[in-house]
Symmetry: C2
DNA sequence: GCTTTACCTAAGGTTAAGTTGAGGTTTTAG
DNA sequence: CTAAAACCTCAACTTAACCTTAGGTAAAGC
């Protein structure tokens, strides 16, 4: 009895996974080619999945919501133990890992926002000179005054 | 004398704009097709830009850093007065507009992070039931306990 | 047993935001 | 005046994350 029914069974067909995880079948095929999920085939060459694929997909979707690329997700997932079904702690540590990334992103966006905020006053939206476009010095520098407005470009152009 | 030189002039060639704004010429062509910037042509069919295109590009780049799409940027920029060169206040109000969007994004990411944080404890990374995948109820609901883990899916699957 | 539903693979399409290249014209520098 | 640098258009390519379609097989329902 290798064929799954609509009853709850430990091995799921691609359609069942799709319905439960609320993703398209094509997405599952795609994830498989990317090594994000795995399956084996039954006698008729159809995919069969272990139930923990649902958790995996859940994690994938959560990570995507955090703005993490599938490549990064794949890399992180590949660190899960292959020998055993991942434990709750496995997933939790993964979650903590991505949380840190999220924190970084939030911090970056916050810096950008504050910088835009600070720059409204002086109107220094001129490129190269304004920290908004130069994330590296986004923390250190500050823009103060109309001097930055257009003149620096002029000076630079003259030197080229 | 309609041809721009390396000296500072009110009308800029595409190459000059590219250099000053630190973007590729191809990107400027692209922006123009998308209606983000505008130019007129000289006798030899070459693009000429008004200087305020630099400010425009600066704003475009700033908005992109905030994760705003070119389409949205175009829509916002199209609200600028066509009749006159935009004033500092025009740009400032635009900046405030995007800043609000940034705030939203930050708030969203923060909610996601906090939710992931809260969910580590109960391990409820199961789809549909977990607020992480359901941004709509991300604020209201909370996940508490292992009950949510897999059972709800089972119940739902049985009904389909 | 037959028909409908589910599944298979492989190739091509989609969107965003550009980049690259071909083939040809214009400007600029000397 | 001539050669190099800059510019022009148009089409095709790029990456990510899938979706769609075609042509064909397998499984499930009655």
């Amino acid at each position: 009895m290798t064929t799954p029914t609509t009853r709850d069974e430990p091995r799921l067909s691609v359609g069942q996974v799709a319905k439960r995880a609320d993703v398209a079948v094509s997405a599952l095929h795609f994830y498989e080619t990317k090594g994000l999920i795995r399956s084996w085939r039954n006698a008729g060459n159809q995919r069969r999945f272990k139930k923990d694929v649902l958790r995996r997909i859940a994690v994938i979707k959560a990570a995507q919501k955090m703005g993490i690329s599938l490549l990064e997700i794949q890399e992180t997932l590949s660190k899960l133990p292959e020998s055993r079904t991942p434990t709750k702690e496995d997933w939790a540590s993964m979650s903590r890992f991505w949380q840190a990334k999220l924190d970084e992103k939030i911090a970056y966006m916050t810096r950008v926002r504050d910088m835009v905020d600070g720059c409204i006053g002086c109107g220094c939206l001129s490129m190269k000179s304004c920290p908004i476009y130069n994330p590296d010095d986004i923390v250190a520098k500050e823009c103060n005054g109309a001097v930055i407005l257009d003149q620096p470009e002029r000076a630079r152009a003259a030197k080229n």
